[in-house]
Amino acid sequence: MTGRKDNPGRPLDLLTEFLVEDILNTPDEEILAEFEEAGGDPEAHAAEMRAFLEESILTSNKAKMAAAKAGVAAARRLGRPQMHGPINIDDARRRLRLLSEAGNATPDLTLAARKETELSDADVLGLIEELEELEHIGLGSDNERD
């Protein structure tokens, strides 16, 4: 979604966004018809996906729970605030606009932030969460400003 200016995959990311927007806006009956035209059975596919999901969640649940517990414990030790609570969408948009104004201090998000007015609420929240995750692994704007 955001991509960095030095990300060679950026053109493909943009094309992907373009296609995804169409997928999300295609009416149900057209999506179903496309799959049937290709020889697929939408209901069988849905059942398959649900089964796959249930199985994979059961398998990974134990490990994920352990990792989550370790993460919470580490956050407590470091006195780090929990990343997520209720998010105000106006605050999130304001934060993106500030990033945009910061220019090259935040190359990974500047481009996306520049288009803030064109982004849906979900996209804005996704960008903010992505920023938090990048900061967490040392790639975020704060890190680059230092």
Binding site: L15, I23, A46, I87, D123
Partner: protein, 193 residues
């Protein structure tokens, strides 16, 4: 899309609501998620992995699904984020490197390999050039579609493209659907196919 997704309110959802939303996903929703997951699949992460990870993050609460936001759109945002963050993490992935020990024996140490990033970028650049050329060749018979694809890949916004190509919103959406279907047929498994 799903029944739960149309609810409007403020604040994040709890795990029960997310589980309900998953079980309320329709056959069309699953197909949308399948198509999108194929587009976000990466060399190290299959389409199913991307979708599974997005749902797992929603259930764990590491990604917040705010009320008032469609659930499928939310999952798509998470998949996009996973694909982007995976790319950044790949550049920092530690590599085992041999160094000389005091007794002359080799030791292996984990640290980010400074050459891993450029190599990865070179591979990705080649892949983008290959896909770009393949995609553009699909629209040799339709200059507007070709311009739309090319302009999108060159950072032009939808509004800029509509103005440049003289398309109103309906014509733009119709052309975008035509492009998406044609690309779907030639890249049924996404960019990795």
């Amino acid at each position: 899309m799903g029944e739960v997704s149309s609810q409007e309110a403020a604040g994040p959802r709890d795990q029960t609501e997310i589980a309900q939303a998953i079980s309320s996903l329709t056959a069309a929703d699953w197909l949308r998620l399948r198509k999108v997951s194929h587009l976000y699949a990466r060399r190290d992460m299959s389409a199913k992995d991307v979708l599974q990870e997005a749902i797992a993050r929603a259930l764990e609460g590491s990604r917040v699904w705010p009320k008032g936001v469609d659930f499928v759109r939310f999952l798509v945002g998470v998949m996009s984020s996973i694909a982007n963050v995976e790319y950044e993490k790949a550049k920092l992935r530690p590599t085992l490197v041999m160094i000389d020990g005091e007794k002359g024996g080799g030791e292996t140490v984990d640290y980010p390999d400074p050459t891993a990033g450029p190599e990865d970028q070179a591979i990705q650049r080649q892949q983008v050039v290959r896909i770009r050329s393949a995609v553009l060749s699909l629209f040799e018979d339709d200059q507007i579609a070709r311009d739309l694809v090319e302009g999108t890949m060159e950072e032009l916004t939808a509004e800029e493209l509509r103005e440049l190509l003289g398309l109103d919103e309906t014509a733009y959406n119709s052309k975008r659907r035509y492009i998406r279907r044609r690309i779907d047929k030639h890249f049924p498994g996404g960019w990795q196919s």
